[in-house]
Symmetry: C2
Subunit: 685 residues, 2 copies
């Protein structure tokens, strides 16, 4: 289409035989100008108009560069896809890079009607119910750390994982259809932060607790039924953190609690976590804050939590030998507790599974360099990144060189024994990501910048290891940052996304609740360059993972009659079957409906049932055309389903109110979309 | 910051004394090339790198144009703000134009935790409850037509309105804080499509029904309690459509049902609607489909709805004298029915309030030219737009020139008497928008294009009225389209957004549920040009209204202690008050809490209550800094609030499960954000 339009325009522009004009608004330091000219015939159709646009819009050189680096025309592919958590929206956001276009929101913890997620569709209702684990029907989440499934520690693009900090849950999302397939409540854990990190072949996905939860002695934490009075003594005695290795079944997409295990941890606030590869294969790491074990209590005469929790100069990097832990579990040394095998703190210490290393100060991020050798910690209240060497850690553990132990008996390695380097980077360093050239990039929350530094060998082989080499201001308050396939053996470099918490003056004012700001930064050269400011006005994303687009192989349409829960034939799909029947199931009257949707017909278009019936509709979108999605809603019944081409879905609701209710296709699918409707007649009884 | 970086780069680039290179990948029709050169000294820092980018990325001239026309650097303003419905996401989306950046999602009909909307926050829970009107607690909507409040028919940027088709509701949103302030269920109406259209000074907002609802004779339609068996006879006798004029109080943002009125309509499916200005001031219009009054019933031997509803060559444009209707209501001739004054069909006919004009064929859009003179109808199944002249309509009515009446006795004007013109535009014409130069733009769903045509005088004063002058392909299946301030006296031209239903091959594959595609089109010149493809992966927007950004004056922060429901002091805000007390209210134990949030402290940080207590927390964000939003959530309690600077909000929940539950600030607000937490102790009883 573009070609047609271009030749249309070509006629007009061909009159311009030569164009060379200095463009206004482009002065750099008052001296430079930017000029476009046309040297070859026939006429290029646009130079003059480009001058005009730049001049009229007063674009500066960096703007022109940013525009041209990020513009992805319709029909083109982005280079990368970014999966960002949606923060307390409870969802996952899918962006293209470098376009920064939002291609998709994936419903995970929060019901979302456009996707028919949690509005009567049986598979998603079951999912939310299962994820609620009897706590109550949870309809929100605070999503934090996305992770992509791995093969040999490389992201393989098959599955996505995302955690809910608020309720300690983990979800799996298929990257075949970008839909949530499982939600699991992490046992013995109230809140979860640390991140999803997959083991090198995705046998496990790790989850660390955030705020310690009260445990009943020997019986762990049960949602809403474990009560221990909150005192400083009880906190130390009965509250516990956890690190959980959730077994994942790559074939079904389900977590398998029976084959998962958990390690009991002291009641510090465990923070970011990661599982190693290469030289750190078999090891997992999580840092911690509040090793002071403060509980707050301003009204009760104690100092505020954030003050009391920030006293120690060093907290503890937790070093976990997860492969050994797995062996311990296989050897029957773990204890079943609320549906999961728990390695108690005593066992973990005794068996040599858990070690600490000092880390300054109230640290935050915990990341691993591409080689798998360096564990990098952001200091948060310390202006440095601290880099640990797994070889040194392994050596020190082998030699049993400890400086002592924490109050729970966990052995503490000597800082100097395990440290590779410390680099002073800026104020409030939080998270580190890496490129393909041996550089680390750290987000500095307080000094509002991304700082680029060199790693050491084998990641960086130049002559200036562990040094700052560049810095770029961001706008504003950067939390995480993300580079393509960082925290894997093969980061791709090129781009960096700064996940900024504040946007302040970067966007037009849309009221007191401002969007966040994702800034796309070009890291292909020596100097970092800002390319694009992308507002996030639908949640407060926490972290993102970026993957090369060619690693993703999503479905375009389902095979006819597919149940997306299993990717196999839906038991109620029978080709050509439409109609309904009213029958008794036990004590209950059920009106069961087999429905098809195709442009622009819903069949049946009248369903007659009686008040009190359970209405169960098996609906198949019998389209085979990509994008021919239909949706289904019933007026006043709070029911909504989205049925993609080939999908069969089942919706259930109780016809509790009498009347005649319109139902209709809610996706504008055809010119007669408005007429794609029917009636549910509910006869009063 | 940009300047610092530029001079850094300047050094490197200044070595390049002259650059002139033909750029590859730019061939147009195989013949043209695009060249950049630098003619003036000293060196501009970017021409060479721009060549490189264009060449490496193989950008074509149209791409460069699109990139530079749409790139809005961080810190810059867009020219326009677009309010788009979110379709069955139930929300409203706020975009910038030309950047196409999504600045904000506004929660309206669907609970949304990031905004703390519907998760225990009392004001939003009340709003959703009120909007549910006893039907059930509705947690979704199918938003269709946004509208902006008007002064002298011009958009004034104070209020936004949006309707829920699925449940016949209307919401108001303040453009001071971009928050929903009212939701009202439209009486006697089950579903609502027609649109929100404000009267010239926003005395009323209009809403037309979509699918007729069963009425109890003389008593209207009550949600879930009106049952009439669905037969063709009953449909004609007892089902009715409505056109409602909701009184709006601009001061409070509330709809006032007591001073609203409604007109009973025949059981056609009323479609788009609009209220006139200028020569059409005092008149409202809605078109209709299914004047056949088909009810479907394939399983019962009748033809499918969409076939039977598409038989007539002409349907009826409804012409309503709403000012006269208002007088009739004041004169006491309307009948109170379920909380609203209804002008019955008989009264409407007798009093000369309702007239029909033939309109071909199963029409869809209904729009008014800037002058207020022309009512433009998209033919949908007719390849023309049909343009009516209000002067001719008024004359014909004055002369009582009718061709007959419909089965309900509504007088039908003669088509030739009221028609100004018909223009053959393309297949499946739906909606029309206008620019500032006398042009209309119509979306053609089937032929996948936007077609530009001339209006007649006084809108267009050239010598080729009512003719097609340009067309541009879109990708794909365009529904609505939007131009800045169209459907008002002063459209602004410049841009057009095509709201396309399908995107198919325009974006990377993200699974079977594809995003929609908003295409931004440049209409500043004679020829339309495609600028940008914007994916919409979070709902299926229906229509959008675009307003000049300078008309919006949103708040940056609230005055301290503001209740956003009223924009006045929250009754529970007392400066410096923090703490909690447990007391009895009637039979119920209440733990009432006064809480403040400021970086990085929640006070109190321990709340001790007993199982079964109603916990009521009045929380004030005592920040005065823009963007210093805090949020509040309690683990496992499904509670989430967002509290913007200066806001006081009240959250309520029943502490039904014992334990010690972490609560925390969910907006990453400061380096010690993770430590901004506290504990809710619920003692078992």
């Amino acid at each position: 289409m573009g070609v047609v339009k271009k030749s249309d325009n070509g006629k007009k522009v061909s009159r311009r035989k030569f164009i060379a004009a200095t463009i206004g608004g482009l002065a750099v330091g008052g001296a430079a100008g930017f000029t476009l000219s046309r040297l070859t015939a026939p006429a290029a159709p646009f130079p003059r108009e480009i001058q005009d646009v730049i001049s009229e819009r007063k674009l500066e050189p960096d703007h022109v560069y940013g525009a041209l680096k990020t513009y992805v025309p319709g029909g083109w592919q982005d280079e990368f896809i970014m999966f960002s958590s949606g923060g307390h929206s409870g969802q996952v956001l899918v962006f293209g890079i470098p376009s920064m276009k939002l291609y998709r929101v994936i419903a995970v913890f929060t019901p979302e009607p456009w996707q028919g997620y949690g509005y009567g569709d049986v598979k998603t209702m079951k999912l939310l119910e299962k994820g609620s684990n009897g706590i109550r029907f949870l309809t929100l989440g605070d999503t934090h750390h996305p992770e992509i499934s791995r093969t040999n520690a490389e992201f393989d693009g098959e599955w996505l994982f995302i955690g809910d900090k608020l309720n300690a849950r983990k979800a799996s999302i298929s990257l075949k259809d970008f839909e949530t397939k499982d939600i699991v409540k992490i046992p013995n854990t109230q809140t979860q932060h640390g991140g999803a990190c997959a083991s090198p072949n995705t046998e496990y996905v790790s989850c660390g607790s955030q705020f310690p939860a009260p445990w009943e002695p020997g019986r762990g934490y049960k949602p809403g039924v474990t009560y221990v009075q909150l005192t400083e003594t009880n906190y130390q005695e009965y509250f516990r953190g956890t690190m959980t290795f959730l077994r994942f079944d790559r074939r079904t997409g389900k977590f398998d609690l029976a084959n998962s295990f958990q390690i009991e941890l002291p009641p510090y606030m465990q923070d970011l976590e990661i599982i190693g590869w290469g030289p750190s294969d078999g090891w997992a790491f999580t840092n911690s804050i509040n090793t002071e074990m403060a509980i707050g209590g301003v009204l009760e005469g104690r100092p505020p939590l954030e003050v009391a929790a920030s006293q120690n100069d060093f907290d503890y990097l937790h070093i976990v030998n997860w492969k050994k832990a797995e062996e311990i579990v296989r050897a029957g040394k773990a204890k079943e507790m609320n549906g999961i095998k728990v390695i108690t703190l005593d066992t973990a210490i005794k068996e040599g599974i858990l070690f600490f290393a000092p880390e300054p100060k109230s640290p935050h991020g915990c990341d691993i360099s591409p080689s798998g050798r360096y564990i990098v910690i952001g200091g948060k209240l310390d202006p440095q990144v601290t880099i640990y060497d797994i070889e040194k850690i392994k050596e020190a553990i082998a030699d049993q060189r400890f400086q002592g132990e924490d109050p729970y008996g966990v052995p503490i390695l000597r800082f100097e024994d395990v440290k590779a380097a410390q680099i002073e980077v800026g104020l409030g360093p939080l998270h580190d990501e890496f490129d393909d050239k041996g550089h680390g990039y750290v987000s500095c929350f307080i000094s509002n910048e991304v700082v680029k530094y060199t790693l050491g060998p084998p990641d960086y082989t130049g002559d200036k290891p562990f040094q700052v080499v560049d810095r770029i201001p961001i706008h504003y308050n950067i939390g995480h940052l993300a580079t393509p396939e960082s925290n894997s053996p093969s980061p791709k470099g090129k781009y960096l996304v700064a996940l900024n918490k504040w946007s302040v003056d970067r966007f037009p004012n849309v009221g007191p609740l401002l969007p966040q700001n994702f800034q796309l930064i070009d890291i292909s050269g020596e100097k970092m360059r800002l390319l694009y400011d992308c507002p996030i006005g639908l949640g407060e994303p926490h972290y993102a993972k970026i993957i090369s687009i060619e690693k993703l192989k999503p479905l375009e349409v389902y095979e006819m009659g597919t149940d997306p829960e299993t990717f196999s034939k839906h038991p109620q799909y029978v080709e050509g079957k439409v109609g309904y029947e009213r029958k008794k199931e036990g004590d209950r009257w059920v009106t069961e409906v087999w429905m098809t949707l195709i442009r622009s017909t819903i069949t049946p278009d009248i369903i007659r049932c009686k008040q009190g019936d359970l209405v169960r509709i098996h609906m198949t979108n019998i389209e085979t055309t990509k994008d021919a999605t239909h949706a289904f809603a019933v007026a006043e019944y709070n029911v909504m389903a989205s049925i993609e081409p080939g999908e069969t879905a089942t919706v259930e609701f109780v016809a509790d109110k009498p009347g005649v209710f319109a139902y209709y296709c809610v996706e504008f699918c055809s010119p007669l979309h408005l007429e794609m409707a029917g009636w549910l007649e509910v006869e009063p009884v």
